[in-house]
Amino acid sequence: MTAQEVRLCGLLLQEHFGEVVERIGTHLLRGGAQNLRTIANETNTPLDLVKKSLCVLVQHGACEFGSGRRGPGSPVEYRASCERVLRVLRYPRYIYTAKTLYGDTGELIVEEVLQRGHMTMSNTVKTVADRLTHNMEEGRSMEYSEVVSAFSKLVETHFLQRCPPVAEMGTAATSTNPATPGTPAASASTAPPTAESNPDCYKLPHVTLIGRGKRRRSSDDSEEQRGGKKAKMDSESCGDEGIYWQVNFERFHQHFRDQAIISAVASKLDQTSSEIVRTMLRMSEVTTTQTAAYTQPLSANEIFRSLPPNYSISRPILDQYLSLLVDDPMEFVGKSGDSGGGMYVISKEPWPTWRELHWSLWYRRGWCVCQSWFGSRSARIFRLLLRKRHLEQKQVEDFAMIPAKEAKDMLYTLLSENLVQLQEIPKTPDHAPSRTFYLYTVNQLPTARLLLQHCYKTVANLIERRLFETKENKRLLEKSQRIEAILASLQASGAEPEQLTEVEEMITAPERQQLEALRHHINKLDSTENQVDETVFLLESYIFSTKTK
């Protein structure tokens, strides 16, 4: 948890949940696991507010609780998760992806679940149906069944998952595997169960949606009983109480990565090959687990059958494309056998292809950063060093075709910004300077981390600037809001045009200009945040991929 990350998390929490939650959240992020009393004392917040904030944080998955350090008897300790809070930055991207995949209904479902943290299926369906009806014309309303089908599609493709069952604290321990109810595990689970450890993670809707069997849900519901602690609420119960759904961020990330692969293939080769790769990825979407190194091998026949109908290419051409993809130095696709016309795999995780791909995507970012900070020639040097790994000063000048003096200058600026590093290779054991090679090199992983921290700092600065701008012009913004409200109410009650123009003139022309400029700035800042977040995603996934080799 670096300082930049904590600062960014604090700003995000403040924007979404208010200052109280921000204070509690940053305290938890900085201080690690703490119990309730400690938090209240150290942040000087009344106990009730601390409780409320913790409820909010747990609801949104940003905080986990577990039994204390001294065993089951000690007070409950809370841990905040920096990663989860940073996801908030990516919410618009998730929602937009859901929209492109599943239309407006899917978009609203994901939006609701994101805003509320976790929800039961029935609640989600009702809320979304209401919202859709609200936007529809008079007299039409949204069927629950349509929303339910969109929901089930999201669950089938693993975009939504069930929330993991809560580990009980104290002596009564629950089994983390609800498929065997009534046989509680002997020992209390020390680590909070992840969603994936629950075998029913994506299973339930398959069972209940056939024939809208709400009755069946209550029998499945019994599998979720936990030590008899549940309070059944009789009113408005649809039988799926206690089964909460949350957004599966990993799945969305996988989708983003797939999109990155496809666009990289498209830019390097051509559209058709990217379609082929897209088909392969889609076929193996659900069968590949997150940590698999390779997708399941797909035979060329299967690929041929699954190609989208508008891409009617003949079989020999498909084979040619596949061999092209295999031979490409980027190694997007690997060949793993010859049965069924040739088995092909796409490597998903570090070695070698995914890492290579990540690396290349990453290095492109680094190159872009270089270019934007220092100009295209420095970017050329950076790229050269990445390609050739280690180069001497003289070699850099030669390969980059840049005059010596400028090359020196650029190298030193890059060195001072830590984008390149100096590697000493002694010729003699006494490391005499005159007999040592000094090579310039780029250390990928540390540089990636550096860039990531820069990105966090950037986003935090953007948010702060936006807050500053809003605060500066608060008076003007409030005035314009009031006037809009007056206008709206006048129009609703049917006023004459003169009255409307009179109200509109309450804002003077220079004020209007100021407001326009302010809106323009805020839009720009917001848009930049979104785009920096794309780089953040890329860098984060690269760093993550190097960790799990």
Partner: protein, 217 residues
């Protein structure tokens, strides 16, 4: 002494400057005496932002989400600080968030017991008096205090139900009654006054007839 002949005026270092490419007679950039400026002049103009339908849609989404967050119950505001004197209208006009109440009802079975806090229902809801559910045993000495409080409140809740009907007060009382029946821990009511002492003056006129015969001194 041994190094005095070499690199005079430049300072002695353990490695040979030639190898790094700084030859003799080259001028190094001037040393800096203060931290770099806050907004340094940029040698290269930044790449313009991406534009397009997708980008604008996500921008609109982001701004909507931000606005919507403020209306959700998850946005926690501190209760407004108490004014100098407790006013009568506080009891009826409590539209602001209270510290001791939470505006949404989470699933308490998924949270540790110690986080349980009174849920504040919106005033518009009316609850018919519910059948008292068996209370869960409380831990600690709070149990005795809360039991006394709840007994007290039940008494005056019954009283007030008989006196008034269809008024806001009833809604409040029923709310309180319903609340304290449903939840284990009950925090103190917002006023310091004991409810049964409150005399709303309906019985005032009744006694005056009896005292008319007595002489006033």
């Amino acid at each position: 002494m041994a190094g005095r002949g070499r690199g005079r005026g430049r300072g002695q270092m353990t490695f040979n400057l030639e190898d790094l490419g700084i030859g003799r007679g080259d001028s190094l950039p001037p040393t800096t005496f203060k931290p770099s400026p806050l907004f340094p002049p940029m040698p290269v103009q930044p790449v313009p932002l991406q534009t397009g339908e997708e980008v604008e849609y996500m921008l609109a989404l982001k701004q909507e989400l931000r606005a919507a967050n403020k209306t959700l119950p998850f946005y926690i505001r501190r209760a407004a600080p108490k004014r100098d004197v407790d006013r009568y209208s506080d009891k009826y006009q409590s539209g602001e968030p209270k510290d001791s109440a939470i505006e949404w009802s989470p699933d308490w079975s998924r949270l540790p017991k110690e986080l349980c806090i009174k849920v504040r229902k919106p005033l518009a809801k009316r609850h018919p008096p519910q059948v008292k559910q068996p209370k869960k045993p409380l831990v600690g000495k709070e149990e005795i205090l809360t039991k006394l409080e709840t007994l007290e409140k039940k008494e005056e809740a019954v009283n007030s139900e008989e006196e008034e009907d269809g008024e806001k007060k009833k809604t409040n009382e029923e709310e309180e009654q319903a609340e304290e029946e449903e939840f284990e821990e009950d925090f103190e009511e917002d006023t310091d006054y004991i409810m049964s002492y409150f005399d709303n003056g309906e019985e005032f006129g009744g006694d005056s007839d009896d005292n008319i015969d007595e002489a006033t001194y």
